[in-house]
């Protein structure tokens, strides 16, 4: 290859690179991807044809500045168009380039540009629904270049001195086509990834809404039950979590409440949480004590629990006439009773294994009495094990101190006080576990 021929080739590659950059910028605009999506629609085919036709015409224009017989750069548009948009786009773009080329320089060799689009389109058809990779497109282009130059060698003897180095321009079209297909491939891939990510995120958001809708969140929950002042918070570490609380009246005198923590986090924990909460509600009936409720729920949870999930639950029934609380425990951390005189007691816990571990076991039961203004505070270990940035735990000791510094035994006030202190402690560290607190203050009318 002579120095002139080398310079010429380099300038063609320059032009191709400029083309690639311009195309890259165009397809990165927000308008382009919607065209590429569902590109089989007729009007989108037309737009793609115009786009790749313009690319082909750019090739003719570049060739006109140097040597009219160079067709490699004009073939980029039709071949890439066919690979990306199908045979009609390829043929259309080829026709545009060939027509302009013929108008500019009148040589019959321009028909190779049209043929390029058609041949590439046929190749595309043969691939059916499989996408054409940049490597496939490059191999096709190389094959077509060889074919064209053999044909031109025999039939286009008009400019033998140019033909001698025409094969050297083949890298331009191969580079161009492969570059095009690569850019488009990446764009589609990227958009699909982000679309599926968005789908998952939106499903998680919905799951989160559903889960937050499962637990009662209207406070005060019973405006016409003056004996109970109750407040609770549930703050999952991720979109969905495995903590739960629930409360409801079993009959006009008995008030059931529960708090629980499923092992692990995320979607599996959330599903297990929803099942547990439903089972608790279904098995807390009039005349059934909390230990029996836990036993029944445990037996159902154990069946078919292949994932070895488990849930710790503390539950109790408050007699709203007497203030007596009968409670049972399945592996949950002990709640506190904060007496109206400022004394904090840890609730004595009967032994009991977490739910979902072992079938057919029984649970212990115990009782305590709440006086007027006494609060019972239950929590999950997301509170005591909340961490600051250096992985120090909030700890149950600090929790106890925090409760003792609450100026009130009113549930809403206590929980807000604890949450503020936990947030102050974490100081922006990522929340590592679901945080749940439930407080119940017994507030009967003063006796006359």
């Amino acid at each position: 290859m002579t120095a002139a021929a080398a310079n010429f080739l380099i300038s063609l590659i320059d032009d191709t690179c400029i083309l690639m950059v311009v195309v890259y910028c165009i397809i990165r605009t927000p308008f382009f991807y919607p065209i590429l999506k569902d590109r089989a629609k007729p009007w989108k085919q037309l737009l793609l044809t115009l786009f790749f036709g313009a690319v082909s015409c750019y090739g003719v224009f570049i060739a006109a500045l140097t040597d009219h017989t160079i067709i490699s750069i004009s073939m980029i548009g039709p071949i890439a168009g066919a690979m990306i948009g199908g045979i009609w786009v390829g043929a259309g773009a080829g026709l545009a380039g060939a027509a302009l080329g013929f108008y500019v320089n009148g040589t019959a060799s321009q028909s190779a540009v049209l043929l390029a689009g058609i041949m590439a389109g046929l190749y595309r058809l043969r691939k059916k629904d499989n996408p054409v990779s940049a490597a496939n497109a490059a191999v096709f282009t190389a094959g077509y270049e060889i074919f064209v130059h053999i044909v031109l060698f025999f039939f286009d003897q008009a400019r033998p001195q140019i033909n001698a180095f025409i094969p050297a321009t083949a890298p331009v079209s191969i580079l161009g086509v492969a570059g095009f297909v690569f850019i488009f491939e990446k764009l589609v891939e990227e958009r699909q990834t982000s679309a599926s990510k968005e789908l998952i995120e939106s499903e998680l958001r919905i799951a989160s809404d559903i889960q937050m809708g499962i637990v009662p969140k209207t406070f005060p929950p019973f405006p016409n039950l003056p004996e109970i002042e109750l407040y609770a918070v549930l703050k999952p570490a991720r979109e969905v979590g495995g903590d739960l609380y629930d409360f409801f009246l079993i009959d006009c005198d008995h008030f059931f409440f529960a708090i629980g923590d499923v092992s692990g986090k995320g979607m599996p924990a959330a599903l297990f949480m929803a099942v547990t909460r439903t089972l608790l509600k279904a098995n807390a009936e009039p005349g059934i004590s909390p230990d029996i409720t836990l036993k029944r729920v445990n037996d159902v949870l154990c069946r078919g629990n292949d994932a070895s999930m488990f849930v710790t639950v503390f539950c109790g029934i408050l007699n709203i006439r007497t203030g007596e609380v009968v409670y049972s425990n399945a592996g949950h951390n002990p709640p506190y009773v904060y007496r109206s005189n400022g004394i904090l007691e840890t609730v004595r816990m009967p032994e009991g294994m977490a739910l979902g571990v072992m079938e057919d076991i029984s649970y212990g039961q115990d009782r305590l009495v709440l006086g007027r203004g006494d609060a019972m505070i239950a929590y999950t270990d997301g509170v005591s094990e909340a961490m600051d940035i250096s992985f120090n735990q909030f700890s149950s000791e600090r929790l106890e101190k925090t409760i003792e510094t609450a100026a009130t035994t009113e549930s809403r006030g206590i929980i807000r006080h604890i949450m503020e202190d936990v947030e102050r402690f974490a100081a922006g560290a990522e929340q590592s576990d679901d945080i749940t607190l439930l407080s119940l203050t017994y507030t009967p009318e003063p006796q006359r």
């Binding site: 499923v262 092992s263 692990g264 488990f310 710790t312 592996g331 949950h332 977490a354 992985f391 590592s432």
Partner: protein, 109 residues
Amino acid sequence: MEVGSVGDVNVVTILQRIDAYNAKELEDKLNEMVSGGAGKLVCDFEKNEYISSAGLRVFLALLKSMKRSGGELVLCSLQPSVKSIFDMAGFSRLFKIFNSRDEALKNFL
């Protein structure tokens, strides 16, 4: 996680913290050992300072799968704070727990 063996007994030293973030990794490693035919396994908690409920689940699942395959899992050297986590969930009744590694190994003699 260090893995060693004494005779035909595999001994695994559990990390300082087992929580939701590394529980999956621990589970995969232990499952790999068990499916690789580790019939006798000691989990040494000497270095472990904290285990979350996600970690407890790993050991529960391991216990179940080893029982099914006829193997045996024992735990040893639990620090008091970790032991209380096992106690709280009622898991101390499920597992054979020894005070030291030597006692745990004797179990298999």
